[in-house]
């Protein structure tokens, strides 16, 4: 375990009584004394503070500024980056030659450069992928900044009191704010389905900032356990589980992230790895789809649970990729892949749990309505 990396908040997590676990090569808090269930509910009711410093922060620069970076990056990512507005952020993904997903990421237009945030587990591979695939672009990993997320209905008021101006931001806006904690790179986004902010902060300032946020009575620290149940209720994918190199964006029900201009007939159609397959699937549909699943009983259907069309017999028609109990919906919930013909809402399927086939219905995602400030 000695080769685990730590974030600049490691000592604070321990001081707060967190239970620490290895995650993506980092020693991270899975829960605090409040416990997963209460942390989850607190984040939906007030505000939760997450340490996401393990994620990769990267700046991409080119002599031609943002547009030059965007043009290069469109060769790796199937989304409209040239059309992304100034100080706006967009969700995207790296595809491979067969249209599978190498990672999902956030990309921001910051005027003279692009700022991206990638998953911790994929960080090294993503950096190598960008360095190899972006001629003329300088790829700089930002290693002297930490990353926090403040999520929940009270996030706006709490952060506005410390960083005036953030309340005016809309969902997926990004901004750079001078503050008592150094310059903060803030985006109005997150991974919970709640309104909130992601805050990149100089490493030396992150602990004072985290302490100041936690001093507010509405803010509690939230661990990876509740982060997972929050994102699952919000219908958001976890890389390595719900999406990976074997799933295409269309299969993963992420077609919404591929704008018209990158699709067949668009002025910049295709031109990314695996475009042939992805464009074909956008047009004709994929053979399977990622869907929400609501088990009818109380038993959670966890990752790997096979799904069947009938109560007995037959071949599996899909499988669960994420499953847990949803504290807000007070019921078990899952996501998974099913054959295209079985993907419509309300379709009754069976999940095989401990040898028993239990009824489960295809359900709308997200399980809880998003409360983004659009």
């Amino acid at each position: 375990m000695s080769d685990l990396q730590i974030t600049p908040l490691n000592a604070l997590h321990r001081e707060l009584g967190a239970k620490m676990v290895p995650f993506a090569g980092y020693d991270m808090p899975v829960q605090y004394p409040m416990g997963v269930m209460k942390e989850h509910l607190h984040c939906r009711a007030k505000a939760g503070l997450f340490d996401v410093s393990h994620m990769g922060q990267v700046i991409l620069r080119a002599p031609g500024g943002y547009a030059a970076v965007a043009e290069a990056m469109e060769a790796l990512v199937p989304v409209d980056l040239l059309g992304l507005g100034l100080m706006r952020q967009r969700y995207g993904m790296f595809t491979n030659d067969t249209g599978g997903l190498l990672d999902d990421l956030m990309l921001a237009n910051r005027g003279d450069h692009m700022f991206v945030v990638v998953n911790a587990a994929c960080k090294g591979a993503d950096l190598a992928h960008m360095r190899a695939g972006l001629p003329g672009v300088t790829v700089e990993e930002i290693t002297d900044r930490a990353l926090l997320a403040l999520q929940g209905p009270a996030a706006e008021a709490v952060l506005e009191a410390m960083v005036p101006g953030v309340a005016a931001m809309r969902f997926m806006d990004v901004g750079i704010f001078e503050s008592g904690f150094g310059d903060l790179w803030i985006s109005r986004s997150g991974y919970t389905g709640e309104d909130g902010f992601e805050i990149s902060v100089p490493e030396a300032e992150v602990e004072p900032l985290a302490r100041a946020l936690l001093a507010h009575e509405d803010v509690e620290p939230i661990g990876l356990g509740a982060r997972d149940s929050l994102r699952l209720e919000a219908g958001l994918c976890l890389y390595g589980h719900d999406i990976d190199t074997g799933t295409t964006p269309v299969e993963a029900s992420l077609s919404w992230a591929i704008q018209k201009v990158r699709r067949a007939g668009g002025t910049r159609a295709g031109g990314f790895p695996g475009a042939e397959r992805v464009l074909k699937e956008l047009h004709e549909g994929a053979s399977r789809a990622r869907v929400g699943l609501r088990p009818e009983g109380r038993a959670p259907m966890r990752e790997g649970t096979p799904l069947f069309a009938d109560a007995t017999g037959g071949e599996a028609v899909g499988h669960v990729t994420s499953g847990a109990f949803g504290p807000t919906i007070e019921a078990p919930m899952s996501m998974g892949y099913v054959s295209q013909g079985l993907a419509s809402e309300g379709t009754e399927l069976y999940g095989e749990v401990r040898g028993k086939r239990l009824p489960v219905r295809v359900a709308k995602l997200p399980f809880t309505p998003a409360t983004f400030k659009r």
Binding site: Q31, G35, V36, M37, R298, A299, P300, F325, P327, P332
Partner: protein
């Protein structure tokens, strides 16, 4: 009361043994969200999986600590699995088993030995 290394407690009540999990186990599991109980009348052999507990973290099995017949299960846990966290040593017992061989109880720890085991 006796304790197993699997963090179960066993309490003899007349001619049956009541089985639950310890406070320590319930803390380790985290918030319990689902409990699957065995059928009454089932004959079990020591180490058979008889109960499944799902917490917010994972699923865990409770094994039969002794051979015998399941004579009663705590159906209140089906509707309120959170009881396992609130009162693991009392209200949140899982099942009662009629021992086939009461001497199987002898191998288990008393409370002092269990406390030493988890310390």
């Amino acid at each position: 009361m006796k304790f197993t290394e699997e963090h179960e407690w066993l309490r003899v009540e007349d001619d049956v043994v009541v089985v639950g999990i310890t406070e320590h186990a319930s803390e380790q599991l985290g918030d319990v969200v689902f409990v699957d109980l065995p059928e009454v009348g089932r004959e079990v052999v020591k180490d058979d999986g008889v109960v499944v507990i799902e917490s917010v973290k994972a699923a865990s099995d409770i094994l039969a600590p002794i051979d015998g017949e399941i004579v009663e299960v705590n159906e209140a846990l089906l509707d309120d699995p959170g009881k396992v966290n609130e009162d693991p040593m009392g209200d949140a017992w899982f099942f009662k088993i009629k021992p086939a061989d009461p001497s199987q109880m002898d191998e288990y720890m008393d409370e002092a030995a269990y406390q030493a085991h988890i310390a």
